[in-house]
Subunit: 465 residues, 4 copies
Amino acid sequence: MTLYPREECGVFGVFNHPEAANLTYLGLYALQHRGQESAGIAVTDGEKVSSYKQLGLVSEIFDEKILNRLTGKSAVGHVRYSTAGSNNLANAQPITVDYKHGTLAAVHNGNLVNAQSLRFELEQRGAIFQSTADTEVIIHLMAHSSATDEMSVIKSALQEIKGAYSLLMLTPDALYAAKDPRGFRPLCIGRLPGDAYAMSSESCAFDIINCEYQFSVDPGEVVRFDKNGIHRERFAPVKETTLCVFEYIYYARPDSIIFEHDVYSIRKELGKQLARECPVEADLVVPVPDSSLPAAIGYAHESGIPLEMGLIRNHYVGRTFIEPKQQIRDFGAKVKYNPVAGSIKGKRAVVVDDSIVRGTTGKKIIHMLQNAGAREIHMRISCPPWKYPCYFGINTPEAEELIANQKSIEEIARHLEVDTLGYLSLKGLMDIVPNYDEGYCKACFDMKYPVSPGKDTIKRFLKKA
Amino acid sequence: MTLYPREECGVFGVFNHPEAANLTYLGLYALQHRGQESAGIAVTDGEKVSSYKQLGLVSEIFDEKILNRLTGKSAVGHVRYSTAGSNNLANAQPITVDYKHGTLAAVHNGNLVNAQSLRFELEQRGAIFQSTADTEVIIHLMAHSSATDEMSVIKSALQEIKGAYSLLMLTPDALYAAKDPRGFRPLCIGRLPGDAYAMSSESCAFDIINCEYQFSVDPGEVVRFDKNGIHRERFAPVKETTLCVFEYIYYARPDSIIFEHDVYSIRKELGKQLARECPVEADLVVPVPDSSLPAAIGYAHESGIPLEMGLIRNHYVGRTFIEPKQQIRDFGAKVKYNPVAGSIKGKRAVVVDDSIVRGTTGKKIIHMLQNAGAREIHMRISCPPWKYPCYFGINTPEAEELIANQKSIEEIARHLEVDTLGYLSLKGLMDIVPNYDEGYCKACFDMKYPVSPGKDTIKRFLKKA
Amino acid sequence: MTLYPREECGVFGVFNHPEAANLTYLGLYALQHRGQESAGIAVTDGEKVSSYKQLGLVSEIFDEKILNRLTGKSAVGHVRYSTAGSNNLANAQPITVDYKHGTLAAVHNGNLVNAQSLRFELEQRGAIFQSTADTEVIIHLMAHSSATDEMSVIKSALQEIKGAYSLLMLTPDALYAAKDPRGFRPLCIGRLPGDAYAMSSESCAFDIINCEYQFSVDPGEVVRFDKNGIHRERFAPVKETTLCVFEYIYYARPDSIIFEHDVYSIRKELGKQLARECPVEADLVVPVPDSSLPAAIGYAHESGIPLEMGLIRNHYVGRTFIEPKQQIRDFGAKVKYNPVAGSIKGKRAVVVDDSIVRGTTGKKIIHMLQNAGAREIHMRISCPPWKYPCYFGINTPEAEELIANQKSIEEIARHLEVDTLGYLSLKGLMDIVPNYDEGYCKACFDMKYPVSPGKDTIKRFLKKA
Amino acid sequence: MTLYPREECGVFGVFNHPEAANLTYLGLYALQHRGQESAGIAVTDGEKVSSYKQLGLVSEIFDEKILNRLTGKSAVGHVRYSTAGSNNLANAQPITVDYKHGTLAAVHNGNLVNAQSLRFELEQRGAIFQSTADTEVIIHLMAHSSATDEMSVIKSALQEIKGAYSLLMLTPDALYAAKDPRGFRPLCIGRLPGDAYAMSSESCAFDIINCEYQFSVDPGEVVRFDKNGIHRERFAPVKETTLCVFEYIYYARPDSIIFEHDVYSIRKELGKQLARECPVEADLVVPVPDSSLPAAIGYAHESGIPLEMGLIRNHYVGRTFIEPKQQIRDFGAKVKYNPVAGSIKGKRAVVVDDSIVRGTTGKKIIHMLQNAGAREIHMRISCPPWKYPCYFGINTPEAEELIANQKSIEEIARHLEVDTLGYLSLKGLMDIVPNYDEGYCKACFDMKYPVSPGKDTIKRFLKKA
């Protein structure tokens, strides 16, 4: 009960649609890349709230029988991934509770930086915690709020929490969507036929259910959906927003619109910029599939070096693979990737990836390409060196495990055994991402955490090790 | 979130044994008859508490892999059954929480009569409820207690609750066992080799792990197990105790010692008393297997009428059976029971059962025996007419569904289509059960609820319909 | 592919009923005691044959979805148990084949003694074997028969096989039931509403589906069910029949009628005879539940010593139990049985069981009763010493593992640590079982195998070790 | 038993390696794209053959426990896909049998054209068929062969069968790999450390286990692996070979070497040739992921039109998806694909796919791209119109369901609602694929079946409908 997992999540909701649970299930399926560990849906028929959550993938957890039991016109759902070891059903969401204002189901994407001290205070006031999810902290704040109407209760709770959160709350007669005042994580609203609405971490989940994108929830805003329609309200003054730049670089699906901009195009532009910053004479550009394909296309377009699929990814990957005792070189990477010798042999390859975390898999991939006959390997990364952990909703290892925190670019290149290694510059990155009035959180590159994580937070994450 | 299930449960715990989780699993398996819907174990290694709970039978839920993950020297476990429809993982136990005094896992057998009003009060004070289990109410009371040491915290919580409870609470360095001041439900303590102890709803669970029975927890007592050994303390003044007489009649296993007395012998004596009160000229005594076998043996011994296994029970019963569309007479009873025509045909049978609830299965069984050629059927029940619901830990239907609440004995006899029907008298029952200074709860027969269930409780149970 | 398991099985079939698969499933469920390892059903809609089989219990394998796919008006089903280690899906039945006379599904209870040499001959003629089931041998014989009509094909195959078999064969337009010329194993026919029939190893399976018992298939008879009704034909001359006496002693369910006689009554008479042959002064008769209860009742009635349930059996037994490392005395027996100390303590007990195989569990049970305080233990077995393995359809260990093959009664008594040990005499047994013109196979007691198992058979079974 | 499924399969084997089963499991995992319905492995320890097969994906079927039971140094494995409805465990492979020459396990990729008449003949000679797999026919032929040594037995069987087959046969002391005289399907041999070998449908499966590619089995050749090493023998005279051209176009993995040539490079060249044959003025080239990516890259390189990922594929696809009742446009394609509006909007897109079968999914994809704002859509297919079913191991629908069999290119274009539609010419295709002395089977395009399928075969496949 005292491990505080770092989480990655996706949220989805539907208001006032006769097939709320089924649409939520499809939405979560489209958001599966944001969390593969557990999933859950809570639905209300206007009186009570029913829910179902389990460990596993969306398509494994829900079947027709379970969806049929989740009757009602409004629903919220969640997919979650957390650091290994804490794959605990107790932390799966939605969290559904009875409290003084009635019944509530909540889902949340993000991480609070003052969760630890809020937990402490709440415990002093009599709160009991059945999970380590930040969502439970938020609900407790609502339960201890002295406000009387639901909207005020929610606003008062949100005013006490700090950090990143995009959250949905479902009650028997309303659904609330809220985003933290700095807007770290995406959350957007769409329109369904009839007076129905959907809410999603990413717009790609609207596409699967024919839902029309309407707008992105504003930082510091609560949107209420009820029988009177849609009502938007601020709970915090306008601040400098700090969107997570990593959603653009890697996390979001390329077919999503995030913070009103098209992810695929930005990723391709990052690849172009990378080509300008780190050119190299080579025969082909090889993406590490699937996520770095847009950046690799950009690099290829800009450099004029032809794109080739030098690595194939096997998508039938199961949970675990049993390695033979007579160990196989680069086994971990091999069950997922295989080089295409025919396109690689004797060639000088620019391998484009969207990030290097620990450098473990990258090193194996490079080794495999070298064995397949690549003459030279030039590694290009479509973001700056990733030096600092995220405390706002991306699941990262601690600083000492991040290779760029521990080694210089030259040292990393030697470690990976590549001929050259180039990262996109931070300036190059910021030139490409859409020029908002507001800014970005890019603390993973420059350690400028927009909200101080505080010693407590850093410690609580360290505890998990 | 607003269905309040009526529960039956069993609890088991181990203190200071290197294989705490494994012993708890075996103990729960021996208590499986007290709850077949969900099971769970929480274990502590002295620092953190780990737990696992699922819907299903003990032998299905736990395997070597899961038990191996539950490392630590002290554990508590739970099996649970509740009214159909609420088979909800959220209500499975142990409930494990973090609160101001640390980490805690609790399991509970019983039902509180003031849970509803305590919930209301606690919600006003900021509590959030994630289940409808009474255990959660108790933990909230502890969390809101102003006491400072753990023992006082527990005692102050117990002083606020009313009703039936036998509970175990596990913290990283201690284990507490407590029983309500009237001692409705059994809870006993055993000794394991080394300075280790076990706690169990019934002593039969000690036998499977070679644990020596020590004593039954006193009503109104908290027993603390810690590194200093065992420490017993009262939290409530001595009151008239009201042991659940139904544990002797039906609920406990015959090989258990309940409230210091041997269940099998009492059940056999009930059968003898029944023979004295309701004699009949007949050819054979037929038990409804397996639970009424001891009473039937008693009846046979006393009456001199030979015992015959006129009904066979199929023990390979699964969850559900698919009835053919061309319906089969008495299908529900037939998948479980089959008459032995050879022993029944042309005979006058005394069918002994330990209770009649709705009369549905009983009627089918009698119909099957008649079709098998029984010449006369004399039904004998080894307890008085069951007229009133239990609010203290036995899962019963509401009053209007209890056939004896709605019909006279003559009407029931007509309904069942038996030649004669005889119930044990309440006086006869009380003459047999051990003559304590304290008394019994026999409200299911005489409506004298030792603790007033209150309108709220009755309503909350009715809500479930 | 060369392990020849010794099998125990049950067969069930339905002809011309709109819910053939569902009735077969219920029939197999009632026969579950005859085999708990695998189960299967094949059904025909008059054109093709569909089937489903799996490892597991009937209630686990079949659900509504699977039964709905098994459409057709005639069906055959099978439950199977075999020696540990060979729990192989390949040996599960029905075996469904295409061959020169069309499509066929077959199920079989028994063991052939010339299977090995027939396999060899058939292999020489080009047969391939995908299982070690004798059923496959029979089908191959049919496929190599030069007869032209189906009935003659079946008869010619049956004339080549020796040993024990009760079998059912399903084709798109007929169903055949056949029993070996000596009639080792039971097989009976029942009538369902409409022109429908059922076939079953035991009559208890008719009761669950309201099917009326008609007759037992004669030894050496094939019964054909088709659109013209029922047609009985001999395929072998009348021989001395040798019914398996062990069906009466232990194997069949007590509520079945086997070889036209009521099992329960015979078992009780065996207990009475045992009391006459091996009297003892004692305080109570304790059955080893559940199977020896009828014999114990008989012993109690005859001796006048009261019956007491001194042992309780836990029916929630799962597949395996994880024993703690700090081993528990008599663990294997303890997960299944528990003594009722209250009825045993200080008493002289006659423990009645229906057989002793290896003596392992028996010894543990006695040990448990002694620990529970029994003053004397007198073991009484309701059959003669079991000295020789069965080659005709009961799964037994080899001779050297049968304790009565290796030790005298006195030695067994010492091994079990009982005060006295008494077995029913062979003469006593034969006086009780119904006095047919025909006789019994009692080779497990007297080594007089009605059909010589032959060196090959003995060897093939020994191979499994 | 009378549905003859059209199959797609992959085979893998290992000879003389201590971890034969584990390597085979990894090999099958790499061949998963060749069959996702069932998988199985048979292994020999030099005496007996053990096997395990189930419905499902390789990573779901096998776990450490099952692999540990499959002990031995040589193994064969199989993955299989067949027409919907026949997903029957009976057809899963390996098929393991005992027959006159001992024990044998066989796996097979391909389809025989004379299976039906061979079955008929074999049935007349006494054979029984437990599956509809062609493999069983081959084994029966071996069992009926009058040859005496194993190699001659195999050769005589192969001389009787016609059609496509790449097969592996395992006996306790040898492993055989054989390919039909025309060499329809790939089968190659690799070398493992020690005197160990592997055999695989495709070389990509060698990469995952660090196995070195040695040679492709010759058409009409049997390769025997035994304690004396490797021994190659012809069983049929050299004929014109007819390699399946579709392996290059679509079926094989791009990282495989098939018929000694690199698949990825050929696929890219097909895209280039397509660009030369069917040029169009457009803004971007959009692959239908993942399989058509190499051809799209080729098209882009040749045409100079930039490649863009206009479609994203969701790889978390489960078995089935529950469509809401209020149906969603293009639902079937939407759970798998989503357009990237940002890259498509207002653009003229060349959509490159590697084949059109029924045109159903293609139409939905185009519709989705149009809704995402594509201004023009030019569909380009990297093979000729697919007009005729395959009878040699690719699972295709019947002729009347193939859109190119029923409609002209213009009609297809209208049906798909594309602006233009272009197919690669047959001549263009043949110019690109490696210029062997031998030729190709391209009957799916030109109806010139190298081996006449015969009326029987066509009928047997039609039966399935």
